[in-house]
């Protein structure tokens, strides 16, 4: 008797079938070997929308094992609705322990933020990437951008930074500030604020970047040099919050969200929700802080 599997409702561990997981892992290894290079991969459809973290999920689900402790944040917050939805999915498909505690997690998936707390060499940070091609803004064709990377022909992006500077007096790159990885490939750090960019360099942990819709993986291995693009006389700056303190904790030196209450009064609150919790309960976890040049 042939088993009727037409309306079967069970799924493989971590949802993705084993041969696809193997393929993704091999592509991750390639990305580790060539830091900053975008490796194409199969990117099968996931039961969540394209553009909502499918690339991150591919990485997470092909790496996660039953003993991993999983944390997921969206815009710095554990409680953001999409983070909740993805956490529920990963938990349902793996049975893994999930946590809000940055230090307790072995695998962290994030959208648009690197946690404030220093990550260790026992941790992997998976970042969701909407547009992996850092050159897309200056060259629309994929065929050409791949050539430009191969030839390290980055003139166009330098010119775009220069033009923004002469026009506005600043590089005008908010999130997703372009970086050079290991002295070779220019890559996107994903749309993290500039505040987080210095933390990518010479870190203890592995940073993986998954772009599901565009079907690309890139990587910053531990202890790899990452430089934000800057000119000799016009240097990279992170966001400054001069004289502003978090309204919930009274602390400073963290990336702050601008929030408005019902009366329209503006306040600032620490963005990283787990960091805020720890700051309030104490002791304050250690951070790597960047000092803006004068």
């Amino acid at each position: 008797m042939v088993e009727d599997v037409k309306f079967r409702a069970s799924y493989n561990f971590a949802f993705i079938d084993e041969s696809t997981k193997k393929e993704v892992r091999r592509k991750i290894l390639k990305a580790v070997c060539i830091p900053g290079y975008q490796v194409p991969y199969s990117s099968p459809e996931m039961p969540i929308s394209r553009g909502w973290g499918t690339g991150g999920l591919h990485l997470t689900l092909s790496l996660i094992g039953p003993r991993d402790v999983f944390k997921i944040i969206d815009q710095g917050s554990d409680a953001s609705v999409n983070a909740c939805s993805l956490r529920q999915f990963v938990k349902r498909m793996t049975g893994c322990e999930v946590t809000f505690d940055t230090a307790a997690a072995t695998l962290i998936q994030s959208r648009h933020r690197v946690p404030e707390e220093i990550l260790t060499d026992k941790q992997i940070l998976v970042l969701q990437v909407p547009q992996p091609e850092v050159l897309r803004g200056v060259e629309r064709y994929e065929f050409k951008t791949r050539q430009m990377h191969a030839e390290a022909d980055y003139a166009k992006i330098w010119v775009s930074l220069y033009e923004a500077y002469v026009r506005f007096g600043t590089m005008m790159r908010g999130s997703g500030y372009p970086i050079r990885v290991n002295g070779r490939y220019i890559a996107t750090p994903s749309p993290i604020p500039r505040w987080d960019v210095p933390n990518l360099s010479m870190a203890h942990c592995l940073y993986l970047f998954g772009a599901g819709r565009e079907k690309r993986i890139h990587c910053i291995p531990p202890y790899t040099k990452v430089e934000p693009l800057e000119f000799e006389d016009v240097l990279f700056h992170v966001e400054a919050f001069p004289g502003i303190r978090c309204a919930a904790s009274g602390e400073d030196n963290a990336f702050l969200d601008e929030v408005y209450d019902d009366e329209g009064t503006r306040k600032f609150v620490i963005n990283d929700s787990n960091f805020l919790d720890k700051v309030r309960s104490g002791p304050r976890p250690s951070q790597r802080l960047f000092t803006n040049p004068d």
Binding site: Y41, S49, S77, N82, G174
Partner: protein, 385 residues
């Protein structure tokens, strides 16, 4: 307090899902059965199967039911479900000459071998809203009885397959199998590897076959209306069922069933490159699951257009066409704008405020300079004339 540290996300999601169910059922309607969706929304099912890239009317019907009829959502669910299934075999190449034809027409010739078969189509009906459907149930049994009584069952097994219209053109030498000598003919599987450009024709056709119908129509139409220079002729449009065969491990061919497909062969002109070379006719190919004639016609037009790259018209541009008609991706990314973006927005706001501050300071400096000059001028006694 509207702080981000508030942990209410999960409750909000659960409540939202519950509200969807509430609005669906609050009028206590009679639930539709999957078999009803399957048989009475045939064209919708066909569209969802094609864009969902999975030939399974039952699963397509389930998906449609689950999402209250949203085609994008249903196709997306089917794709996601498809991705959980292991690919055990690749089918042998379908031969649409073996098609059990339900409909086939050619607009290139008045009469074609085997004849024009109009088949089931709404093309020549007046699109008048039929209010009687709201009042009466159609007399199905009476209709079927009357219809079937007119069928001569002895003739049912007469003609089942037809030769192709392009065979006529090939035999005359106006179209040749080897006319695209320098084409990339590798067969790739776009579900197993990311597409790279320039893409081989197999990848282009696979992507077009899974593309969103409206998207294909938009770009296909543009090639006829000034953004490209094509106005092709429907060489042949046929719809019917074709047998699917696989080769098993022992090398034996196995018949595994039939699927319904629509196929279009759009005839145009090959651009002659060499001087003195004879002009040839080209064929643009379209094929998709089920009955979706709009889709295959546009697919055929775009197949031709993509063979003639031209960055000045979107339809002739591989990256533009293939990246921007992939419905599941378009739909997902467009809707991702609803996700919170306050970190990225904040980072951008910082830049903008810096620029504004700097401009205001400069304006302040200039205003101060102007005031000083004006004051000095006022203080200087004017010479009397």
């Amino acid at each position: 307090m509207g702080y981000v540290a508030v942990k209410g996300g999960q409750d909000a999601i659960d409540n939202a899902a519950e509200l969807v169910e509430y609005y669906r059922w609050r009028e206590r309607p009679q639930p539709i059965e999957t078999t009803q969706v399957r048989s009475q929304f045939r064209l919708l099912i066909d569209k969802v199967m094609g864009e969902g890239s999975l030939y399974s009317p039952e699963h397509a019907a389930l998906a449609l039911q689950q999402v209250e009829g949203d085609v994008f959502e249903a196709a997306f669910i089917l794709r996601a479900y498809r991705a959980t299934l292991q690919r055990r075999f690749y089918s042998d190449t379908l031969n649409t000459r073996d098609m059990f034809v339900q409909r086939r027409i050619s607009s290139a010739f008045r009469e074609i071998p085997g004849g024009q078969v109009l088949g089931p189509t709404r093309d020549y009906t007046q699109r008048l809203l039929d209010p009687s459907l709201a009042r009466d149930t159609p007399g199905i049994d009476a209709f079927l009885g009357e219809f079937e009584s007119r069928i001569d069952r002895t003739k049912l097994r007469g003609v089942t397959s037809f030769s192709k219209v392009i065979d006529l053109l090939m035999s005359e030498g106006l179209m040749r199998r080897d006319q695209y000598t320098d084409e990339d003919r590798r067969v790739v599987d776009i579900t197993r590897e990311a597409i790279k450009f320039p893409a081989p024709r197999s990848a282009r056709l696979q992507m077009l076959a899974r593309a969103e119908t409206g998207g294909l129509m938009c770009i296909g139409y543009s090639t006829m209306r000034g953004y490209g220079e094509s106005h092709q002729t429907v060489g042949e449009l046929r719809m019917g069922t074709v047998p699917v065969r696989i080769t098993d491990q022992s090398g034996r061919k196995r018949y595994i069933g039939r699927i319904k497909v629509t196929e279009a062969e759009m005839i145009g002109r090959v651009a002659v490159k060499k001087k003195g070379a004879l002009p040839l006719l080209s064929v643009g190919y379209g094929l998709c699951f089920g009955q979706n004639e709009t889709k295959v016609i546009c697919m055929g037009m775009l197949d031709s257009a993509l063979r003639n790259p031209n960055v000045n018209s979107p339809g002739n541009n591989q990256e533009f066409v293939l990246y921007h008609t992939e419905g599941v991706e378009l739909y997902g990314f467009t809707n991702h704008l609803k996700l919170p973006h306050y970190v990225t927005f904040q980072a951008g706001l910082h830049n903008l405020r810096d620029v504004v501050d700097r401009a205001e300071k400069q304006r302040g400096v200039r205003a101060a300079e102007f005031a000083a000059v004006a004051a000095a001028a006022a203080a200087t006694p004017k010479p009397r004339l």
